[in-house]
Symmetry: C2
Subunit: 357 residues, 2 copies
């Protein structure tokens, strides 16, 4: 029996534009190899920084390219905070970020993300009562792991709180460009471009293995962050940056994005219809219009036991508790992009059976 993986948020094999990337790689080395294969400044390959800067309507020195965006977040945590400082995250949130924050010795204050979206009342109460929150990490668009989108009203309210209580907002946006229907709200960066720290990457748009992520930084942080990056790894691989740049410059992204949106959009539809058809009434789930994930809440704290039952049925789940500071026993993340429709239908049917035997 072949296992069905509802585990990590990886793009499917068929999404990687192998031939185009092979040609881009060859061409950039022939054309610019002597420069991109040498030591170089830590902020990354300038043409790609410039292109991102234009798209963001920001100056190029505010863009730092790294080896994935997670590592840039780790650098940010070290540059902006001290061990013992308090940070806030959505709960559930991206598990790897919780790991980095714990490793940095930070106190993590969870902001509940429930059926009605992000609970900002509780956050405002805490801030009003003197809680010193230094930084908030949020994924407003097609959140990992819930798939949720933050409403415009909440975006504005979060920004207002940041300004009143003086904390950094780190907006992680890897899924924002993967909208399969409906209209986007402005990003937090769009709303306050001077002070929002925005992270993103090409991992979900081209492929993860190139490890090309980036941050748009407030002007006053660029030197510190770039310096820390240089001290850590001298410079990221410009070859990888140049391959991405060539892919964009050759106009390959437009068609590729259409292809991805079609493919993933169909899989999302299939996922939502399978949930409608199979899931018991007492479960609830999100209905995203993009991204990689649907978030499912069970009626009980049965998640950990479910994991084991799933294994016996050839179904692999992630432990919901990994996405929570506390709790998570009633949460399951359902990534849909790397499964075909047959796997999605079969997987959800099996999942429903073990939830409600």
């Amino acid at each position: 029996m072949k296992s069905i993986f509802f585990t990590r948020g990886v793009p499917p094999r068929e999404s990687i534009p192998v031939n185009a990337l092979a040609e881009c790689a060859r061409a950039v080395i022939i054309d610019e190899g002597i420069d991109i294969l040498q030591y170089a400044p830590a902020a990354g390959y300038s043409p790609l920084r410039e292109l991102i800067a234009q798209k963001k309507n920001a100056s190029m020195d505010r863009i730092i390219l790294g080896q994935g965006s997670l590592q840039i977040l780790d650098i940010l945590l070290h540059c902006l905070l001290h061990s013992g400082d308090t940070v806030a995250v959505e709960q559930p949130t991206y598990d790897r970020v919780l790991t980095l924050m714990r490793r940095a010795g930070l106190r993590i204050c969870p902001m509940n993300l429930g059926r009605d979206g992000l609970d900002l009342d509780n956050l405002e109460n805490k801030l009003g009562n003197g809680e010193q929150i230094r930084l908030i990490y949020t994924i407003p668009d097609f959140q990992n792991p819930s798939g949720m989108v933050m409403t415009l009203e909440k975006r504005k309210r979060l920004i207002d709180l940041a300004s009143r209580f003086n904390f950094y907002i780190v907006e992680d946006s890897p899924y924002r460009d993967l909208r399969y229907e409906g209209e986007a709200f402005p990003s937090l960066f769009d709303l306050v471009p001077d002070t929002t720290i925005q992270l993103s990457s090409f991992s979900k748009l081209i492929c993860p293995g190139l490890r090309v992520g980036y941050a748009v930084l407030p002007q006053n942080l660029t030197k510190t962050v770039t310096h820390y990056a240089e001290d850590t790894y001298i410079n990221p691989s410009y070859l990888n940056h140049a391959i991405v740049y060539r892919f964009l410059q050759n106009g390959l992204m437009e068609d590729h994005l259409v292809f991805l949106k079609n493919l993933y959009g169909m899989r999302l539809k299939s996922m939502l219809s399978a949930l409608d058809k199979n899931m018991p009434d007492r479960c609830t789930w999100t209905h995203p219009q993009g991204g990689f994930f649907v978030g499912l809440w069970l009626a009980s704290n049965d998640g950990p036991a479910l994991l084991e039952r799933a294994e016996t049925q050839g179904l692999r789940l992630s432990d919901g508790r990994g996405f929570f500071v506390h709790a998570g026993e009633n949460f399951i993340r359902l990534p849909f992009c790397a499964l075909n429709e047959e796997e999605i239908q079969e997987g959800i049917k099996k999942l429903a059976q073990i939830i409600h035997p």
Copy 2:
């Protein structure tokens, strides 16, 4: 006036095998793109790990590939040590390592590296008096910045001290394969393969920009270090590892190494003859048989003033103090690989003139 750079240890433009790397990059993406452009285990691309393991006569799980070896060292410092711990380094040593150690909050105990080589008497005294040294970082072969090679006797004595006083040895070996004449001593890793941590990279053998460095770890550290790497950046770029592997598998390294040794060997000869011809008697310098650097000791602590005088003559030097925990005003690092013979002759002549006007 074109400046002559005696600054950082970068390979020359003409050393980068651009066409071969372009072909390797295209071929690995065509052949293995779907795998190497996906998320993957943090220890790096297995075929290259296996190849290094064979060369080192170690099991593959002891090899971790990173994004340059400096970043692996940073991970090691975090995995093995706590803020406040004491580490020892040669003095002078690689400046970037001092930066990482200071950033990690480590106490740095300098071991003087003078005209007679490494002072192990002083180290043994300190250890005997109860100094708790947790880790020693050393570059035994063609040391950066001095060009020195540690004698076999001192290698054995250092190993004996490590075993008696229970500290880690981190041996950084990026220059070891670049010997232009004479015979190598066994590496520290060769002498005690089970417990030495050896770092190396392809930055000086193929090119720096691919950022392919690695560590050979003692068996009991592999899980901790790999886990920390995964938490930091998920995985390094397998594309870069695969390009290096293909370059090696295609048998291109043998000829390339012959080419590099000829080129750099001539430049080293030119550097040594220029020093002999021009330098005042009271200066002393090393006479390495390989690597990237000659280390020069001035008769006075005139280094910082010299830096400024050099600028006015179109000569760029690194500040010797960067390589020292304390002092360094009498030290100059002279990298020779990226300068042609004319630049070397002219540069050393000018340097001699400003040292002894």
